[in-house]
C-alpha cells in the first residue's frame, strides 16, 4: 500500500527540504521503496541536499508534460538502492506544473513506491497547493517561533480544505515536526516550549529535531543526516520520527534534553 506524504510549512527556511531528505533516506534505509519529489519549481534544492545535483537530466515537469518517462527522470540514490529523487525544474516557470500533470505523475509514483514524500515550496500559492493536493498524510514542519507557528496554522487550515481528501470529506492525517528546537532556551523561557506549540496547533507530534551543527554539515556534503553514521542528536531524532512515520513505533516522542545525555527525558503528551 502506497502512501503520499506532503512535507509543508507555509513559512520558508524552517527545514522542509532537510526533513524530506532525512525522513526519505531513513525510510528507504529500512528497505522501503521511497521517492522524494521536489515541488519547488524554479527554486529546486532537494537535489542539492540529496547530493544528486549533477545527475538531474529530466525533471518533474518533463514527466508531467509527457516529454520524458517517469523512469527516465527518477534518480536512484547512490548510497541507498530503494531511495529515488524526482527533481523539480529549475528553468521553467512555476505555472508549468498542471493539475492534470501532477495527478498523473503522482498516480504513477503510487504504483512504484511505498512512500512518496512531496517537498512543498514555501507559501500558500499554487505550488504549495499542488504539493498537498494528492497527499494522504501531511507533515507540518515548524520552528518554535511565532511567525512559523502562525503560518503552520494557516497551512493546517488549507490541508483541511484544499486537498482531495478534504474535498471528499475524509480526514487528512497531520503531524507536527518541530525543528531547530533548543532545549536550553526553551527551558529558560526564551523559546516557545513543545507544549506551547502543540497546544496552539493541536495536531499530534511526529518528532522534535534539536538545533544542531550536523544539519548544516549534511547539506554541505549532500548526504541526508540520517545516513551519516557519525551523526548525533539530530540524526537520532530524524531516525525516530521516521520509525514513527513508518508505524514502527508508537512510543512517546523523545525530547532532546539540554544536558549532554540526549533522549533521557521522555515526553508523554500527545495532542489531539
Amino acid at each position: 500500500m502506497s502512501k503520499v506524504i506532503v512535507v509543508t510549512s507555509g513559512k520558508g527556511g524552517v527545514g522542509k527540504t532537510t526533513s524530506t531528505a532525512s525522513l526519505g533516506a531513513a525510510l528507504a534505509q529500512g528497505g522501503r521503496r521511497v521517492c522524494v519529489v521536489d515541488f519547488d519549481v524554479g527554486l529546486r534544492n532537494l537535489d542539492l541536499v540529496m547530493g544528486a545535483e549533477r545527475r538531474v537530466v529530466f525533471d518533474f515537469i518533463n514527466v508531467a508534460q509527457g516529454d520524458a518517462k517517469l523512469a527516465q527522470a527518477l534518480i536512484r540514490d547512490k548510497r541507498i538502492d530503494t531511495l529515488h529523487l524526482l527533481a523539480a525544474s529549475q528553468t521553467r516557470d512555476k505555472d508549468a506544473l498542471t493539475t492534470e500533470g501532477v495527478e498523473r505523475v503522482i498516480g504513477e509514483l503510487r504504483d512504484t513506491f511505498d512512500y512518496v514524500l512531496c517537498d512543498s515550496p514555501a507559501g500558500i500559492e499554487r505550488g504549495a497547493l499542488l504539493a498537498m493536493r494528492h497527499a494522504d498524510q501531511a507533515i507540518v514542519v515548524a520552528n518554535p517561533e511565532v511567525s512559523s507557528v502562525r503560518d503552520s496554522d494557516r497551512i493546517i487550515g488549507l490541508l483541511d480544505s484544499k486537498t482531495l481528501r478534504a474535498e471528499r470529506g475524509e480526514q487528512m492525517e497531520k503531524h507536527l515536526l518541530l525543528t531547530r528546537f533548543d532545549p536550553a532556551r526553551s527551558n529558560s523561557g526564551e523559546m516557545l516550549s513543545i507544549e506551547d506549540v502543540l497546544e496552539i496547533l493541536s495536531i499530534p507530534l511526529l518528532g522534535v529535531i534539536p538545533e544542531s551543527r550536523e544539519i548544516l554539515r549534511a547539506s554541505n556534503i549532500g548526504a541526508p543526516v540520517t545516513i551519516n553514521a557519525a551523526g548525533g542528536p539530530a540524526r537520532l531524532a530524524y531516525l525516530e520520527a521516521a520509525r514513527r512515520l513508518g508505524g514502527e513505533t508508537t512510543a512517546p516522542v523523545a525530547i532532546p534534553d539540554e544536558k549532554k545525555t540526549f533522549f533521557t527525558r521522555l515526553f508523554s503528551r500527545r495532542a489531539a
Partner: protein, 92 residues
C-alpha cells in the same frame, strides 16, 4: 494562561504564546468564512452569467455571523435592458 505560570516564567516565550493564541483565535474565525464567501461568490457568478449578461462587479456576497443567527446576503444589480435577455444557451 494562568497567572502563576506567567509570573514564574522569566523569558519572552509566554508572551509569544499569548500573542499567538489571541491572533490565531481571531484568524481562524476570520479566514474560515471568507473562503466560503469567495467560493459562493464564484459559483453564483457562474450560475447567473449563464442566464443573464451582467457586470461581475455588481454582485455582492456578505456573510454576517452573530451568536444566534448567521445571515447570507446576496445582492445582484442587473441592468433593466439585460433582464430576460439570454446569451447563448451553451455558455457555461
Amino acid at each position: 494562561m494562568n497567572l502563576f505560570g506567567f509570573l514564574k516564567a522569566r523569558g519572552s516565550a509566554p508572551v509569544a504564546r499569548e500573542r499567538l493564541q489571541i491572533l490565531l483565535a481571531h484568524e481562524r474565525v476570520a479566514l474560515g468564512p471568507r473562503d466560503l464567501v469567495a467560493i459562493l461568490r464564484d459559483e453564483l457568478l457562474a450560475t447567473i452569467a449563464r442566464h443573464i449578461e451582467f457586470d461581475p462587479e455588481k454582485l455582492s456576497v456578505k456573510m454576517e455571523r452573530s451568536d444566534s443567527v448567521s445571515t447570507l446576503e446576496i445582492d445582484v444589480e442587473i441592468p433593466c435592458d439585460k433582464f430576460g435577455a439570454r446569451p447563448q444557451a451553451s455558455a457555461a
